[in-house]
């Protein structure tokens, strides 16, 4: 088991090659695309899959004791390197809401260019939910129910 690269969509940006903490990628200068040179050393951190702007890496998790028996593993047909969720893209000039959680973006914007199209999130964490197409939990409701709010002083002592 190791990362699988979808060479059709890969545009040779080198993010996977540059970011991999375990240095498992090599670079094929003739095709200008990555090769999984050291598959045995993959630690399944998923950084390449998460950072790939073309969504063309699929880190296959090892079959192991984690394997759930809640539901039989569904065999996946064809390449499963992320089909981008079909959602309305906001025009760059009037970005108001996070595409993952729907909250209004008031602070710094997290901008991700995915297959050439800019997408906007209120944080990197929200992008994670978007990436794996799972609904983001209602963060503020969770905070309200489970944490104690403490006001942070505005300046250092």
């Amino acid at each position: 088991m190791a990362p699988k690269v979808d060479y059709v969509h890969c545009d040779g940006c080198k993010v996977c090659y540059n970011m991999c903490p375990m240095d498992i990628y090599g670079w094929d200068e003739t095709t200008n695309q990555p090769v999984v040179a050291y598959p045995d050393e993959c630690c399944y951190c998923g950084i390449c899959e998460l950072d790939c702007p073309q969504w063309c890496i699929d880190v296959e998790m090892p079959a192991s004791a984690w394997q759930g028996w809640d539901k039989a593993k569904v065999p996946l047909v064809g390449p499963r390197q992320g089909t981008i969720p079909d959602r309305a893209v906001q025009a760059e000039g009037e970005i108001k809401h996070c595409e993952a959680c729907g909250d209004e973006i008031t602070g710094e914007l997290t901008r991700k260019v995915i297959r050439g199209i800019p997408h906007h999130f209120c944080s990197e964490s929200c992008y994670v939910f978007y990436r794996f197409d799972v609904p983001a939990p209602d963060r503020l409701a969770i905070y309200e129910a489970l944490t104690v709010p403490v006001k942070l002083p505005t300046s250092q002592a």
Partner: protein
């Protein structure tokens, strides 16, 4: 390239930081603030390296303005159970400065708290000593999936030089003062020499001593943290301590690693649903109590479970947030496998991941200076306190960087000893010149299997002595056979030599401590009782004339004398 006659470049700087994780980034920033010229050697890529590369969403804060606890109280409390094993002045430093390093993070653009500045504390642990019997901190929760990205941005913004894909291999010395280090570029095999006024080691814990739980190099921690800093410090003559304690983590059997359930209001229960910690009257460090409880059930032929079936909707959402922030790929796994987090209880298990971080490592004083002049250290690497974690990395990293910067302002660069460089080149490139031989990972598997068989959780003298013989054999017979075909293999060949050195220290320290302490982190089958009369002190290891010298001392005598 013919590495035998490879030339090398010499880079000059004021402060060299080896390792660009949380502690390394903070050390570099704080050293830079003193006006020093700073350079980072990073084994991988600064944006995504170290334990927090995937993200990091919780920080223990020990003292903050809203809490009436004083640093003294916290420092005192943080020593419970680890008296004699950690330096109390560092516990005090962590208690005093943790909060202010977190405010720094906010300045670097990390989303600490809500937009209006509200922090979210996990309740229960907010009141020290209320929920967890010996609670040592309050935990703040934030969205930190991009923590490392933001830190890396700040490092770059300040113009700190970063040499990526370069692994530090040896500290250079001039009359017992550390004056820089050598490194190897793992992409092209280039040899790099950095001549610095002082050096900060921030290479993280030694987490690659025992076999990986799954395929390849999987690890709960970042597998790049193999103990190279421990080995470098040892070879340069620094003192290390706590090398006998192992790091254990508790998990669920059928979920991928990632945030562990106990942080999300889940408790450990027996097969019949009883609260195990209450039933067994386990107190103290939660991780240790959980591991002991699971082991205790195991010994009686029973399984232990996390009561995840009792989780509220909010708690499940909180766990999912935790996964998104700390190990995003968990979300994909859950989705693909059709796993439902809160549906049923999950079986609990524990695993060994190398040495106990923040306990095992070089000794440092309150300035985060090691026993060698010109060598500072911080983060998971050092013996700091039982608390450590990300806040520990920021506090000790900040302190080491600041002190290193101040020291650098007062001294001149040392003189390079060409012989040290020649020796190191010969050592590094030996495997590169071996066309036929053992791939580094094969040797690594052997060493790990050996440790799992002869050391591990249940240690005893006869087995430890046999392991020492076998390791010595491995060093003399397997290491010369190492064969690296590519510069990348060179990295693994360097790492296995470091892992072996750390393993040797681990065995010697385990043999020296003739008692059981912090079980199951250190459990001697032949000495199952805790012996406070003789052993409320640390086992210290230092290289002396090429031999491993082992002795014990109380924290006040750590830096010199025996």
């Amino acid at each position: 390239m013919k590495p035998k006659d490879a030339s090398h470049e010499i880079i000059e700087t004021d402060v060299l930081v080896i390792g660009g994780g949380l502690a390394g980034s903070m050390a570099a920033i704080k050293a830079h603030e003193t006006g020093a010229d700073v350079l980072i050697f990073e084994k991988a890529a600064l944006r995504r390296s170290g334990n927090a590369g995937k993200g990091m969403d919780h920080l223990p804060i020990v003292v903050h303005p809203q809490l009436t606890t004083t640093p003294d109280e916290v420092a005192e409390r943080s020593l419970i159970g680890v008296e004699g094993l950690v330096n109390p002045t560092l516990s005090h430093l962590l208690a005093r400065e943790g909060y202010y390093r977190i405010l720094d993070l906010r300045d670097y653009g990390v989303e600490i708290g809500q937009k209006d500045g509200t922090l979210n504390f996990v309740p229960g642990s907010l009141e020290l000593g209320k929920k967890h019997t010996e609670a040592r901190w309050t935990m703040i929760f934030f969205r930190g999936a991009d923590l490392k990205l933001k830190l890396a941005k700040e490092v770059r913004r300040r113009g700190i030089k970063v040499v990526e894909r370069t692994v530090g291999t040896r500290l250079l010395t001039d009359n017992e003062r550390v004056i820089g280090a050598t490194g190897v570029n793992v992409r092209d095999g280039r040899f790099v020499v950095c001549l610095a006024k002082c050096t900060v080691l921030t290479t993280g814990g030694a987490h690659r001593l025992y076999p990986s739980p799954e395929e390849g190099l999987t690890n709960y921690y970042c597998p790049t943290n193999c103990g190279d800093g421990h080995a470098m410090a040892y070879r340069a003559g620094a003192r290390l301590t706590g090398m006998e304690f192992i790091q254990i983590q508790t998990h669920t059997v059928d979920l991928p690693p990632g945030p562990r359930p106990h942080g999300f209001f889940v408790i450990l229960v027996s097969e019949t649903g009883e609260d195990l910690l209450k039933k067994l009257d386990m107190k103290g460090n939660l991780l240790r109590a959980h591991a002991r409880a699971i082991r205790s059930e195991e010994k009686q032929g029973r399984l232990a479970y996390w009561n995840t079936d009792q989780m509220s909707e909010e708690a499940i959402g909180f766990w999912r947030l935790g996964m998104a922030n700390e190990n995003p790929i968990c979300l994909k796994y859950l989705k693909e496998e059709g796993l439902d987090l809160g549906r049923k209880p999950r079986q609990a298990k524990y695993r060994v991941y190398g040495l106990l971080r923040s306990i095992s490592g070089p000794i440092v004083n309150e300035k985060c200076r090691t026993s060698l002049e010109g060598l500072y250290a911080s983060g998971d690497l050092i013996n700091s306190s039982a608390m450590g974690g990300a806040t520990g990395a920021f506090v000790t990293g900040g302190q080491a960087g600041k002190m290193a910067g101040q020291y650098a302002a007062q001294v001149k660069r040392g003189h390079l000893d060409e012989q040290q460089i020649r020796q190191e080149k010969a050592r590094i490139y030996a495997s590169y010149n071996n066309e036929e031989g053992l791939p580094p990972l094969v040797v690594e598997e052997k060493v790990k299997a050996l440790l799992a068989e002869y050391a591990g959780i249940e240690r005893e003298e006869a087995k430890l002595k046999r392991a020492w013989e076998l390791l010595t054999e491995a060093e003399t017979e397997l290491i010369p056979q190492l064969s690296a075909k590519t510069p990348h293999d060179l990295l693994r060949a360097v790492e296995i030599q470091d892992i072996l050195t750390v393993a040797q220290m681990h065995l010697q320290a385990s043999l020296a401590r003739t008692e059981t302490r912090l079980s199951p982190f250190f459990y001697r089958v032949d000495y199952p009782e805790q012996d406070d009369a003789h052993w409320q002190k640390a086992v210290i290891i230092q290289q002396d004339g090429g031999k491993m010298k082992v002795f014990s001392a109380v924290p006040t005598n750590w830096m010199e004398g025996e």
